[in-house]
């Protein structure tokens, strides 16, 4: 999902406290003199247990790990549980994982201070925290056994959930709970020497939820059924920014099962006994929209405006912000002739298109709120719900459920779909549960897309064929604008990946700038965020430069990584190239790409051929340096899935607008990758002793440039626009 966390860390002059207090102002409550976490938790009833907020023990010896992070596919619950189990020396088969309640003080993301799953940070931000939690609980059981048996602490062992002693004495965790709970938790428990890990890094670390996700019993928001619950659907405006002018609900209210119809800020809500009745009721509505302030541009117009801005023909008051620039900027625009490479790239809006459309269950009783949904940013959801019902964020209880995907969509600053549900539940009132259901069409047309982006690149090569000057312009709508964390520097979510690129480090003169024009289409982070376009631009440009210089693209990268001191890039590239072997499968061409995001470096060698004019990807050899791989199997799963997600967008993904209206509505018009088009991804993990870094997102942005580079090798034709396969040329 997002770079919110990295964003928070990078913002110059914005402290964590500023961020959280700013966010709290958005929530409508201003409390001075409390710590930010206290403030976010005010009114909350959540208390940690004797063994801390993350671990609970059952009398039968089973261990429950409370995950502060939502599981919506990433496999983080397996990894988080393994970190605890490793230090606890628990029996892996007796570990369960549940979602923790909402409480920023206990369950805040350690890099952001608010409870949020994003930035591929679930494992990395929990690494030290959960190792300490596991080791601390272990020490409490060891002390309890030593006391019970009157033996020295140093002689007590723990293995597979059994506390023991060489004399033959032994007791399971369950038998020692009461005594262990009375031991004072150690402040700084001794952590294991990683050399002695027996679980982390092994293929024993497997998902805990595969069975319930294979027999239909896993519970998602869509599945919530509560006594007396109503189902709500909302008629949204056809264009962004429209409001209700007038409506006639007479026919809707005549539909059997429809209970009521309300006007809410985002449209007209129909509440009914069943989903089907609510949808039939909505179809019977007559609504007139006030379109005085709507976005009326089509996506082609917006794209042309972005191109004009990059070409210096934008509005005079639009500000350019420099990043990674060095040397004489004028030199980057100078020079003509054979040594100059110049190109542009256009990227469309992208929908997340999760399998489970957005939805939420809310219960409002007076100033108390309960939310039951796949909450990706519990603290934001608490704040936005609190603002609506005028209460404290801590008075908003959240039961986090599995979500049928998110890819960033379920976390946004106004909590769009959550706020809509709370608004309706408040109107229904009386503590009656309301389930808001968005149809696929609602979901696809609701905005919060990956922004439409334009890049313009101009590079001059030195006598050896390597970049001497690099001029780069990026034009896009800002994801972070309007956030509680106003940006002082350039919006990192727009430039990450060009900013920090080893290729810019290896170039003596760089003139890189960002412009952020306004737009009426809501935009959001989308799995791997800025890397979705920056990786493509940098990696595809490099292959074009190598072609121009008459060099092999792999050797060209190696030389630039050496210049930039990019050792991790080099190691990942070398591993992928080595594992790919000398030549592609018959009929396929190869393309290579390497990109760092969320602290991890991914290199891919993709084998591509054209089938009926469309690129078809066969084998994809992936190497990742993600620090310590807690669950190698789930790292592989994320490389497989991330590659498919990135490939789906690269091949087909495109949301377009005509006169401000979204053209796509369902999977018939928003084509996505299917079984017969899916590649076979091999994953190799670069050995590393570094702490874990991101895995959920870094596998996504590399495949598109790898495919473009393969097509370049195949046909000498560069790609200047995604998706590869377009409805019309």
């Amino acid at each position: 999902m997002n770079r919110l966390i990295q964003k928070l860390q990078r913002q110059e002059g914005v402290s964590r406290r500023d961020v959280v207090v700013g966010a709290t102002l958005v929530g409508g409550a201003l409390l001075v003199g409390c710590s930010p976490a206290d403030l976010m938790s005010a009114g909350s009833k959540v208390e940690p247990g004797a063994f801390g907020p993350f671990i609970q023990f059952d009398p039968d010896g089973a261990v429950t790990v409370l995950s502060k992070h939502i599981e919506f596919g990433q496999g983080n619950h397996a990894g988080l549980a393994a970190i605890v189990a490793e230090e606890l020396d628990a029996d892996w088969s007796r570990i369960k994982v549940v979602h923790a309640p909402a409480n920023a003080k206990l369950y805040g993301n350690t890099t952001a201070g608010i409870q949020l799953t994003g930035g591929s940070s679930a494992i990395s931000n929990s690494w030290e925290q959960l190792r300490k939690a596991g080791a601390g609980a272990r020490a409490m059981f060891v002390q309890a056994a030593a006391t019970r048996w009157n033996l020295p602490v140093g002689q007590i062992t723990v293995k597979d959930g059994v506390v023991g002693h060489a004399s033959g004495k032994s007791a399971g965790f369950g038998e020692l709970i009461a005594e262990a709970a009375n031991v004072t938790p150690p402040e700084n428990p001794t952590l294991k020497d990683p050399k002695t890990f027996t679980l982390i890094g092994t293929d024993r670390v497997r998902r805990k939820d595969s069975l319930i996700k294979s027999n239909g019993s896993a519970r998602y928001t869509q599945d919530v059924q509560l006594p007396d619950m109503l189902v709500a659907v909302v008629a949204h405006a056809p264009r962004f920014g429209a409001t209700v002018k007038s409506f006639d609900a007479d026919d809707a209210k005549k539909v059997a099962g429809v209970v009521d119809v309300y006007e809410i800020p985002t449209g007209i809500a129909v509440v009914a006994d069943t989903t089907y009745a609510a949808r039939m009721g909505r179809e019977a509505l007559k609504i007139e929209w006030d379109e005085g302030k709507v976005e009326t541009r089509g996506s082609a117009t917006i794209a042309q405006q972005w191109r004009d801005i990059a070409a210096g023909k934008g509005p005079a008051d639009l500000k350019w912000q420099a990043f990674d620039s060095k040397g004489d900027a004028a030199a980057a625009s100078a020079g003509k002739g054979a040594g100059v490479f110049e190109t542009t790239y256009d990227f469309p809006y992208l929908a997340h298109a999760t399998m489970e459309p957005m939805n939420c269950v809310a219960i409002v009783s007076g100033n108390k709120v309960k939310l039951i949904h796949g909450s990706q940013a519990q603290t934001l959801d608490q704040m936005n719900a609190a603002k609506i019902v005028k209460t404290l964020p801590g008075s908003v209880e959240i039961e986090t459920l599995f979500a049928g995907g998110s890819f960033g969509r379920r976390a946004n600053f106004p909590s769009d779909y959550v706020a809509e549900c709370v608004t309706i539940a408040q109107k229904v009132g009386q503590g009656r549960p309301v389930k808001l259901v968005w149809t696929r069409e609602d979901d696809m047309r609701a905005g919060y897309y990956r922004p439409l982006v334009h890049h313009a690149v101009r590079v001059t090569l030195d006598k050896d064929g390597y970049p001497a000057t690099w001029r780069h312009r990026i034009v896009t709508q800002s994801i972070m604008k309007g956030s509680p964390m106003p940006s002082k520097g350039p919006d990192q979510t727009a430039i990450e990946g060009t900013a920090g690129s080893p290729y810019l480090k290896a170039t003596p003169i760089v003139d890189a700038q960002l412009a952020l024009p306004e737009g009426g289409v809501p935009v959001l982070w989308w799995r791997s965020v800025g890397a979705t376009h920056n990786a493509f631009v940098m990696e595809h440009t490099i292959d074009q430069l190598a072609l121009k210089a008459g060099k092999d693209p792999v050797e060209y990268r190696r030389a630039l990584y050496a210049k930039a001191g990019a050792q991790r890039h080099l190691a990942a590239l070398n591993l992928a190239v080595e594992k790919a072997g000398p030549r592609p499968a018959a009929g396929f061409a190869r393309g290579v790409a390497v990109h760092e995001s969320f602290g991890s470096v991914v290199a891919q060698v993709a084998e591509v051929k054209l089938v009926g004019g469309e690129p078809r990807v066969g084998r994809v050899v992936t190497a990742i340096d993600c620090g310590v791989a807690v669950s190698p199997d789930q790292v592989a799963a994320q490389m497989e899935g991330g590659t498919c997600y990135g490939l789906s967008a690269a091949l087909y993904g495109e949301i377009t607008l005509t006169d401000g209206r979204v053209d796509q509505s369902n999977f018939d018009t928003y084509r996505v990758l299917r079984m017969n088009e899916a590649p076979t991804v091999e994953t190799y993990i670069v050995p590393s002793g570094n702490p874990p870094s991101g895995v959920g997102e870094p596998g996504t942005p590399v495949i598109a440039p790898a495919v473009a580079n393969a097509l370049l090798a195949l046909s000498k034709t560069p790609t200047s626009r995604l998706p590869f396969v377009r409805a019309e040329a």
């Binding site: 990683p194 890990f197 293929d203 294979s214 896993a218």
Partner: protein, 184 residues
């Protein structure tokens, strides 16, 4: 108005309007929530059930069309179906939301084609979208359930990390240089 449907081997009386798609009767009226809503227009396959043994998109099938038909949902497989065992063994699911539909499509395939080829799998499964991109493991699990795979996948408790001699960092042994490819 009451209709009677044959669902998972039982005669079930339902009150819904006859034009209501089966999906919403299963989910809202009968509480059989394993069958998922994804698109509402037979594009994604998340709602796949069996009708007289054939895979059918319940989101576009009104119950009026199902009188006398045998309907089976994911709940009818019981959890120990060879496909479900293979799904667990390969850790196929990620978000999991599409997997009921995937398994129902795969079960219909295996019921008719004991040893499906890659092309058979493509043909049977391309109507089922997985946005997490678990396709490669789905393919592997179908082949495994069909008895088409040779060596069994690494058992969940047996594997040890591959030792690395490429770097001398002490944690490297714990992390391992792990190559894996679940597709074949």
């Amino acid at each position: 108005m009451t209709s009677t449907l044959d669902i998972n081997g039982k005669a079930v009386a339902v009150k819904a309007d006859p034009q209501t798609p089966l999906l919403w009767v299963l989910r809202d009226e009968l509480g059989l929530t394993g069958t998922k809503f994804g698109c509402g227009m037979a594009q994604c396959g998340a709602c796949t059930v069996h009708v007289n043994g054939e895979p059918m998109r319940s989101c576009v099938t009104p119950i009026a069309a199902l009188a006398g038909a045998r309907i089976a949902t994911i709940e009818s497989l019981g959890g120990q179906h060879p496909l479900q065992q293979a799904w667990v063994k390969h850790d196929v699911p990620q978000c999991g939301y599409c997997q009921s539909g995937q398994i129902m499509s795969a079960a219909a395939l295996l019921a008719q084609t004991k040893s499906p080829s890659d092309e058979d799998i493509d043909n049977a499964m391309s109507g089922n979208i997985c946005r997490c991109g678990t396709y490669q493991r789905i393919r592997a699990a179908i082949k495994d359930a069909a008895g088409l795979t040779g060596a069994p996948m690494v058992a969940a408790d047996a594997a040890k990390p591959a030792a690395s001699n490429e770097v001398d960092d002490e944690i490297a042994a714990a992390s391992g240089s792990t190559g894996r490819e679940k597709g074949q």
